[in-house]
């Protein structure tokens, strides 16, 4: 699709705490219902461990420890989103899924600066900067995940 007001963004939306966040649907490989990660020594606190998914080890990141938020809605069922970052995959633990949403560019406003929320779409869905959120973690923990 070319540039212009008609351009749309497909967002996989999910609950973390009492807020809805979204990532690009093209990143999402799978939604896993129950995941019991294998703990990893020296991992930063937001990394729960690794799981084997179809023969490859995938780190599981608890987004609830990275994003502020109150208690999630009662109806939300915790899931792990298997998402792609570049050529790697990462599991994102979230409080619940909130569907796939399509926004036009007119519905999206730039987000507050200096945090992991790139933009806010129509009904208060916060578009996450996944690279920034996971990439720029403080490195004080040494060679962890």
């Amino acid at each position: 699709m070319s540039d212009g007001a008609g351009q749309t963004v497909d967002v996989c939306a999910f609950w973390v705490g009492d807020a809805i966040y979204g990532i690009d649907v093209a990143r999402v490989d799978e939604i896993l219902p129950r995941v019991v990660p294998l703990p990893v020594a020296d991992a930063p606190p937001h990394v729960e461990g690794v799981v084997h998914v179809h023969g490859t080890a995938v780190p599981i990141v608890d987004l609830r420890r990275l994003l502020p938020g109150g208690p999630p809605p009662r109806t939300a069922k915790p899931k792990v989103i298997l998402a792609r970052i570049g050529r790697r995959r990462v599991g994102l633990r979230v409080d619940g899924m909130a569907g796939v949403r399509r926004y036009t560019e007119a519905e999206i406003l730039p987000g507050p600066k200096g945090n992991a929320v790139l933009a806010v779409a129509g009904d208060d869905c916060r578009l996450l900067d996944l690279l920034g959120l996971l990439g720029n973690r403080p490195a004080e923990r040494g060679p962890g995940l």
Partner: protein
């Protein structure tokens, strides 16, 4: 993390997934040793091992299209011994054979077709194999599983395959004879 004057288009470009995007903070997790242990692609031999009586046999996994729980068959009047009966497999009439006769073993298959039909034993299975004449079933007493191995792990008979025996595999449970399914049906 975002530039102070990033436009919406730049923000969305950052939001969208790209294969070549960089994630410096994520350390690559080594892929599991499950993959590393396998022999290189194409080199691997996959066998389906099954039991007849007390002995273990195997066929190439590639020819097996399906494993069915043994079930009563439709009787064929005056059928010759290796043929046990036929099976309606989703509309395809599939003959089912008893491989033990060809292997010189006493038959372990109960009466499984016709009016005196008995309930098949629980571990019994029918292997549906691809043959030149269409699908055919092999009634076996049990299925053990899939063995993945390098081709040189198979002890082949000297002077090429004799009859339908393609080789012998030594396993922890004892020797396992690898047979040609087409030969079993002949």
């Amino acid at each position: 993390m975002t530039a102070p004057d990033a436009t919406l288009a730049e923000l969305l470009a950052r939001f969208r997934y790209r294969l070549n995007e960089e994630s410096p903070g994520l350390v690559e997790v080594p892929s599991s040793p499950l993959e590393a242990d396998l022999p290189a692609g194409g080199e691997e031999l996959q066998l389906l091992t099954f039991g007849l009586g007390t002995a273990e046999y195997a066929v190439a996994l590639g020819v097996v299209t399906e494993i069915l729980r043994a079930r009563p068959l439709t009787e064929i009047p005056r059928a010759k011994p290796p043929l046990l009966g036929v099976l309606n497999l989703r509309g395809v009439i599939t003959p089912v054979y008893d491989p033990s006769l060809r292997l010189g073993l006493p038959s372990t298959v109960p009466v499984c077709a016709g009016p005196d039909c008995q309930r098949p034993p629980r571990p019994a299975r029918i292997l549906v194999v691809r043959t030149a004449l269409g699908p055919a079933g092999l009634w076996v007493d049990r299925v053990r599983g899939v063995q993945r191995l390098r081709p040189n792990a198979l002890e082949r008979p000297a002077g090429g395959p004799t009859g339908g025996v393609m080789g012998v595999l030594r396993t922890a449970e004892g020797p396992c004879t690898v047979v040609d399914p087409e030969w079993l049906l002949r």
